[in-house]
């Protein structure tokens, strides 16, 4: 291959035609409330780990629908449960995170 000193850039476009949502669907089967997240961000705003590690449950739920690896974010969760207290859609967020761990463990 010829070296031109530049090469094709990787596209950052999310292509929903090819995105693999198996993990997200598995999560929804086990935690149907994952579907009713409305991305308000309360969980991240109150998250113990967010400001130091970039953890955001809002982003985790969205990233699963876009087939992005959420493990680095999830690994920072301290399981404090603060997000569960603030979620306006009453999602048991702490339980949802534990379920995700279980899915990844398999």
């Amino acid at each position: 291959m010829m070296d031109f000193g530049f090469s094709l850039s990787k596209s950052s476009t999310i292509n929903l035609d090819t995105v693999d949502t198996t993990l997200y669907k598995k999560l929804c089967d086990m935690e149907p409330d994952a579907r009713i997240c409305m991305s308000c961000g309360s969980c991240s705003a109150s998250c113990t780990a967010a400001s130091f590690s970039g953890m955001s449950l809002r982003k985790v739920i969205l990233a699963l629908q876009r087939d992005q690896d959420v493990r680095p974010m999830l690994s920072n969760c301290m399981l404090s449960g603060k997000c569960t207290m603030v979620c306006p859609r009453a999602i048991n967020t702490r339980h949802l995170i534990l379920t995700l761990y279980r899915i990844y463990d398999r």
């Binding site: 999310i14 035609d17 149907p32 579907r35 991305s39 809002r58 876009r66």
Partner: protein
């Protein structure tokens, strides 16, 4: 002899007003351009949030206004003040003198073809909310495939769009999109459904529940980003581009059907009418009420009243409530005079 009240427009506002005027002992005269009563509601299939059949609703109303005078396929040629009354001349030669006129001339559905980038009227698989309701009614539209794999809804088509000349939110489209998304999922459970929204404006009773339903029970996907461009693929599907603003990345998806949620814009015929008699028009093109808080049903002219979407975007329950309020205002106006 019963007092004449002219009602311009035979949609849900005009029909409800006629019903109430009959109860109060007046002689309502409905002037309707179309060959049937019911306006936009007559083209709809079901109404949110209770999935009320629009035809049953209209049939019930029609039965209750049998004693009203109705001129179908008729237009107002001119209207002018005559002492303390108005002389309304119709294009069929009829002259009506009435002390009170109710303008209930409604709205126009935004012409989705004006948003050229969405390809309505150009691409085979792009339809509007009204087209989809017509399909729910008749199940005949060549643009809707038998087994769609993916369907998208574009919120705010022509609404909240300064470039299209409309700053207003059309109020009903978010809920309608969710209603139609659920109906599509009921007919095609395997279909992936995407709603592209800027904000979800679900302000009315039960609307938010509708949204939760769509998410939890039907798995409708909500993507916060306005569709920027639509193109046609080789197999006549549509490729849709938007930004997934919640991840901050561009997003594309190929769909078998794209539904544009055309919004409400002012009815240009109403503006012609307003000019004839000197009614104020607001900067959004709709009729200007005395104020937007307490006297929405009142115009700048004595004896001329408003009901429904001629003054701005309204839901059906709001329109019906306004029609009743306008009738009371007319009644007070006539009995006090």
């Amino acid at each position: 002899m019963k007092e004449n009240i002219v009602i311009i427009g035979g949609g849900i506002a005009g029909m409800e007003a006629a019903k109430q005027l009959l109860v109060l002992g007046y002689n309502p005269i409905i002037i309707e351009q179309q060959d049937h009563l019911g306006g936009h509601v007559s083209q709809w299939h079901k109404l949110f949030p209770d999935m009320t059949s629009s035809h049953e609703l209209l049939d019930g109303l029609s039965n209750q206004i049998k004693d009203a005078n109705v001129f179908l396929e008729t237009k107002v040629n001119s209207i002018n003040a005559l002492g303390d009354s108005y002389n309304v001349i119709l294009n069929n030669g009829v002259n009506i003198v009435a002390k009170a006129v109710l303008v209930a001339s409604g709205f126009h559905l935004f012409d989705a073809a004006k948003k050229e980038e969405y390809g309505y009227g150009v691409y085979d698989r792009v339809i509007t909310n009204a087209d989809l309701e017509a399909w729910f009614n008749k199940r005949a539209d060549a643009r809707i495939p038998e087994h769609p794999k993916a369907v998208g809804f574009v919120h705010c088509v022509g609404s909240r769009d300064l470039k299209a000349g409309n700053s207003q939110c059309s109020k009903v489209c978010c809920t309608t999109a969710i209603k139609q998304a659920i109906e599509i999922k009921e007919i095609f459970p395997e279909t992936e459904v995407y709603c592209f929204y800027m904000d979800l404006r679900l302000f009315g009773k039960k609307y938010e529940d509708f949204y939760i339903n769509a998410q939890r029970d039907f798995g409708v996907h909500f993507i916060r980003g306005r569709v920027s461009e639509v193109g046609e693929t080789i197999d006549n599907r549509v490729q849709v581009k938007a930004e997934d603003t919640l991840t901050g990345k561009p997003l594309k998806v190929t769909l078998d059907l794209l539904v544009l949620m055309s919004g409400m814009v002012c009815n240009p015929r109403t503006n012609e009418l307003a000019e004839m008699i000197g009614l104020n028009i607001d900067d959004d093109g709709f009729l200007k009420s005395k104020d937007n808080v307490y006297t929405i049903m009142e115009s700048n002219r004595p004896g001329i009243f408003y009901a429904g979407a001629c003054t701005g975007t309204k839901t059906v329950p709001e329109t019906v409530a306004e029609a009743r309020a306008a009738v009371l205002s007319i009644h007070h106006y006539l009995t006090q005079a």
